[in-house]
Symmetry: C2
Subunit: 330 residues, 2 copies
């Protein structure tokens, strides 16, 4: 096994966020389920955007946010994801490179535009998301650069991409490359609706996975049970490590019969939970790729999630490296 160029190589939906204030009436009028993520087509994206307030644009995407967290911790990261050859694609590419990550997936030409997530923020601070995936789901196995995957200690797969058949093939290719190079493969289940759509396929796919991230709802849905411990046992029997998040109740990290209960960092006021799971994964993967014990990996995840829910926006604003150093976690 050669020296690693990257701690983490992440594959995900490359998305630019469009964030604007909105009323609860607006959500109702646009038939958007509050706090949820709704997939929309281009026509609906145009019509919702037209009705939205003036906003700001900023790079997002679940695995992109995780890469930002890994870099903020001082880690080395690469990102693989599909933008279009348009201005929003340039913005996404600029931002992911500007945080220090490697990114050279060729942009899509002549197809759909760069993916956008229309985020309507109600006065209570909650975010309601409508995502037009555009070019993002055009990711193919050809976009998986063997040099990147083989050079990364851990490959990280964003579950949202499991919907797209060619992207799923890209996952299979990346996992095979990583395993053959003696690297680890990790995945987040991303969303309870992804789990509902692909339950059997996801369970089958766990054969390719060493480290899985799931929140409580995703985990329970995967095994169609309300019993968290039972579901955790089942997942722990399928993969080497399962990192299971429970919002304010912290997380549980399992390795076989071994279990670590990780508390959440206390917070006065949760401003915006977007990106909490993405940043938990960032902290955990940073720790794991640096050979830290599982309880420290979990604490790094909890700390990174804590930083991001204390402000608006899904990417770290403070240096996670400094925060982790202050708490003796590095």
């Amino acid at each position: 096994m050669t020296a690693a160029a990257y701690d983490v190589a992440a594959i995900g939906n490359a998305i630019v966020d469009v964030i604007a204030p909105a009323s609860d009436d607006f959500l109702a009028m646009q038939d958007l389920r509050k706090n949820a993520m709704t997939l929309i087509d281009e026509a609906r994206a145009a019509s919702i955007y037209e009705a939205m307030a003036a906003g700001v644009e900023t790079s997002g995407g679940s695995a992109g946010n995780t890469v930002a967290g890994v870099c903020s911790l001082g880690g080395k990261a690469a990102y693989i994801g599909k933008v279009a050859a348009d201005q929003l694609g340039q913005v996404f590419g600029h931002d992911v490179r500007a945080i220090g990550a490697h990114f050279d997936t060729p942009p899509l030409s002549g197809g759909p535009t760069t993916a956008r997530c229309l985020i309507n923020v109600t006065p209570d601070g909650h975010r309601t998301m409508a995502t037009y995936l555009g070019a993002a789901t055009s990711l193919t196995p050809e976009d998986v650069d063997p040099v990147v995957i083989e050079g990364a200690l851990i490959t990280y797969l964003e579950g949202y991409l499991f919907d797209a058949p060619l992207a799923r093939e890209a996952f299979v290719k990346a996992a095979a490359l990583a395993r053959a190079a003696g690297r680890k493969v990790s995945m987040t289940l991303s969303d309870v609706f992804v789990v509902e759509r692909w339950r059997a396929e996801l369970i089958g796919f766990m054969d390719h996975i060493d480290v899985v991230f799931a929140n409580e709802n995703e985990l329970k849905s995967l095994f169609e049970t309300d019993d968290f411990d039972l579901a955790a046992d089942r997942l722990a029997s399928m993969v080497e490590i399962a990192a299971l998040t429970r919002s304010e109740h912290g997380s549980v990290v399992r390795r076989g019969a071994e279990a670590h209960i990780i508390p959440a960092f206390p917070i006065d006021k949760v401003l915006d939970t977007t990106g909490a799971g993405d940043q938990y994964a960032a902290g955990f993967l940073y720790g794991l790729s640096h050979g830290r014990p599982l309880d420290v990996c979990g604490a790094l995840g909890a700390l990174s999630a804590w930083e991001v829910i204390g402000h608006y926006g899904p990417r770290p604003q403070a240096s996670l490296k400094d925060l982790a150093a202050e708490r003796g976690l590095l």
Copy 2:
């Protein structure tokens, strides 16, 4: 004179802001003068952007910010400015319409891209701007819609556009249309460098102007004097109303020999002065178009400027209408 469809019709450079954190070293390395606005070409815009940190994109432009202020006060506004037929142009158009303004200037096809202002924010909160004007300076007299100008109580011209010959012709056309319709014409001098470049031409152009906005440095430069009162007297002899801003020392509003000294609203902490002049103009123009006395117009300007310097970003975040109502200014 028919009833007015708009309180204010503004003509300006249609610009999308790209805002990112930066160090003082970065400014030095990029040869950017701190706190100043530097005009750059497309190649330099690409090279500065490549070196910048990950950022956010949001609509800006001086007169665009003023229109946002007028709308926030409850006024009716129209905007005339040139974007390109690209995604950033769509963002600009969406945002200016989303704040409630009329905007239908045809986008430029096959030419430069939509203008961008690269704003590097240093840890002390100061903003250093590098502007690529792109499509914005392609504004021509044909873009000046007579229906919009004749339907606006006050037409407002952004001095930055005085650099572009065809845009200056557009100003002449707009001023003539407004005057012929019995409306008023206003202008901001925008920038001391604009004044230095076009001093004689600007003085000549005052024949077309009823209401002029200038800050202390622009005013003194226009008449090449260090004597504020002398310069104010000279400007007051050329136009009906001169609204002269002096940062924390408030403003002076002149109409002939009549002078109103308007204090600035006290503020604990100035977070970001970008847009202060734009919002002063918004408040003043709103008051003037609603027949308020000049001291109230000045107070509305001061209040609007006060709101915008208390947060990051050049457009109001609170309702200026509510703030003005609370203070009995409406």
